[in-house]
């Protein structure tokens, strides 16, 4: 197990190194002069020269990449271009906090709700409940986040005016001050998440319910309730761990749109404004932060799957022992 965890983390580091390279190449090495791209065509030569010096554009890209990565690991994330004198690390820090609150709330509610609905829909396959839930999830999957968000905003923020339509509190606000503004974005994220995970859980429950060992349990006379709780649910949930991880990881992307819709001060909102400003160092840092989260969540899911599935675990041990 330990060697698996170690191996998995090592390969994740390699992946991260390549991810960082992709982000760096996409933002800096692509055609054209970075300084002109940032400042625009009518920038004065003096400002262009200053920016080139700041970004050290005279040095080869590979050297800049290694320096950037080295500084990043050490916690020196550089300065924002669009927000002068603003260090990136503290800027991202407070936004990460807000995004973690938002996606944490949405993630916990979304996962629990989709497990509940998915298991019930799978067990009561082809009933009206199943049809309703499956149809709603198809619709939920098909609506872009900004559509769901805008509709909720129109209904609850404008027509009934129950909740703030957009966030007007400062990014540094406390949890209680921020909470009312978090409800609508969180509900939007929950709707999209549930639509995706639910389908996975449902089909996994149906698969397990038709397996030989569940039939066997029924034939032996095990009560239905016990079959559901001891045979179906534990076995049906393990394959969904990865789907949950993928969807939770999707949250990282989903928050970008949802935060922009509701003007919520998290990393997603920060990213879209950094992209409009062509604030390269900030975009690079945010891209890397997102990828670290994404890869981290997937490692946790892989390890959890292995840990919860004795069959896979012993298989791996056998391979390791040989």
């Amino acid at each position: 197990m330990a060697s698996y965890v170690f191996g998995r983390c090592f390969s994740a580091l390699v992946t991260l190194f390549v991810v960082a390279a992709i982000i760096f190449v996409a933002t800096e090495v692509l055609p054209g002069d970075v300084a002109t791209a940032v400042l625009g065509r009518d920038a004065t030569p003096k400002r262009l020269a200053a920016l080139r010096a700041q970004l050290q554009l005279d040095r080869p890209a590979s050297a800049r990449y290694m320096d950037w990565l080295y500084a990043f690991v050490q916690g020196d994330w550089g300065y924002s271009l669009a927000r002068p004198k603003q260090a990136i690390l503290p800027l991202i820090g407070e936004r990460v906090r807000n995004t973690l609150w938002l996606s944490g709330i949405a993630g916990v509610i979304g996962v629990l709700l989709s497990l509940l609905l998915g298991v019930v829909a799978g067990l009561k396959r082809n009933t009206w409940f199943d049809t309703l839930v499956s149809t709603l999830s198809l619709i939920g999957m098909s609506l872009p986040e900004f559509v769901i968000g805008s509709l909720l905003m129109l209904l609850f923020g404008v027509i009934w005016a129950l909740l703030p339509a957009v966030t007007i509190v400062q990014p540094q606000a406390t949890f209680t001050a921020l909470f009312p503004s978090m409800i609508l974005p969180a509900v939007t994220l929950v709707i999209v998440m549930v639509a995706y995970i639910l389908r996975m859980v449902r089909s996994s429950v149906i698969d397990v319910a038709h397996s030989d060992y569940v039939q066997m349990a029924y034939l032996k006379g095990v009560p239905h309730r016990r079959v559901v709780w001891h045979h179906i649910i534990p076995n049906a949930l393990i394959p969904t761990i990865n789907a949950i991880a993928l969807t939770v990881a999707w949250l990282i992307g989903g928050v970008v749109v949802v935060e922009t819709v509701f003007n919520f001060p998290g990393i997603g909102r920060l990213l879209t404004s950094a992209v409009s400003d062509r604030d390269l160092p900030l975009v690079q840092a945010l891209g890397l932060v997102g990828a670290v989260f994404y890869i981290g969540i997937n490692i946790v899911a892989d390890i959890a799957t292995l840990w919860l599935t004795p069959r896979l675990r012993t298989q791996y041990w056998r391979v390791a022992d040989e």
Partner: protein, 279 residues
């Protein structure tokens, strides 16, 4: 399924609705010049913010542009970008997937490492990073879509081809001394065609979602192109005053994606391929 006509897939009501919706979208996009009541970009500030009426069935936006016309032309934009991106992703991804699986070894190893890395960047993040580097506009969006959706195709096709490479009919073709290109076209392609179709259908619907999301954020096609996501973005500020400009494009995106999802589910079912979660 014991149907008296086993060659015809059993079509359920939701599937039928999906197919009809998709057909309507295709007809509207192709027939836009004849169906749209006005040109999409004609400005008429005297008639700004009109509510739906017999003259402007869906109302007008802040420049007095007819929203129905823009929604209809928006379908062209959405379908052209999405289909172009999906076709390119599947063709290029399929080609690379086949080559990588067939050649194997170090080429395979390196390609898969890069692909794992690309897949490890959450979708919208990768799109935004590309947009930061290249700017906005239709060619950039298509490129960004291909770059972010192709890796998934490569992974799936590689896995499928790897199953076939050691099989007898491929080995036999090799021993007969056939050229690699012949083996790929004659022996491999017919076997992976079903997977390619499903990949295409699935990705088309995801790409419509992504493109509209990107346009909504303001990083998609450039104004004044009538794009649904961009229309929502432009008209969102006047949501209370005139919700028409926001609601109709939203309905358009939603129905297109619903129909694509339903149809791609059906294609997957017909080919007997398990459609997994979003990758």
């Amino acid at each position: 399924m014991s149907s008296s006509r086993p060659w015809l897939p059993h079509i359920s009501l939701p599937t039928l609705i999906g197919i009809v919706l998709l057909a309507i979208h295709l007809i509207m996009a192709i027939g836009a010049p004849w169906l749209a009541p006005y040109p999409p970009n004609t400005i008429d500030t005297n008639n700004a913010f009109q509510a739906p009426s017999s003259q402007h069935v869906f109302g007008t936006d802040r420049y007095g542009r007819d929203i129905l016309a823009r929604v209809i032309y928006g379908g062209q934009v959405a379908l052209v970008i999405s289909l172009a991106s999906a076709v390119l992703s599947v063709l290029l991804g399929g080609l690379i997937g086949v080559i990588v699986a067939y050649v194997g070894g170090i080429v395979d190893e390196i390609t898969m490492r890069v692909i794992d890395a690309v897949i490890s960047i959450p979708g919208i993040l990768l799109l935004l990073v590309i947009v930061t580097g290249l700017g906005t506009g239709t060619p950039v969006i298509i490129l960004a879509m291909v770059l972010s959706y192709m890796p998934g195709v490569i992974r799936v096709i590689r896995a499928t081809v790897q199953e076939y490479v050691p099989r007898d009919f491929i080995v036999a073709a090799r021993l007969r001394g056939e050229r690699v290109s012949d083996i790929v076209w004659v022996e491999l392609l017919p076997n992976i065609l079903d997977v390619l179709c499903v990949e295409f259908a699935m990705r088309a619907s995801w790409i419509v979602l992504s493109v509209s999301g990107l346009s909504f954020l303001g990083f998609g096609v450039n104004p004044p192109t009538p794009d649904w996501g961009l229309m929502v973005n432009e008209n969102r500020a006047v949501l209370v005053l005139s919700p028409w400009g926001t609601i109709f494009p939203m309905i358009a995106v939603a129905t297109l994606v619903v129909s694509l999802n339903v149809v791609s589910d059906e294609i997957a079912k017909v080919f007997g391929i398990d459609r997994g979660v979003r990758r």
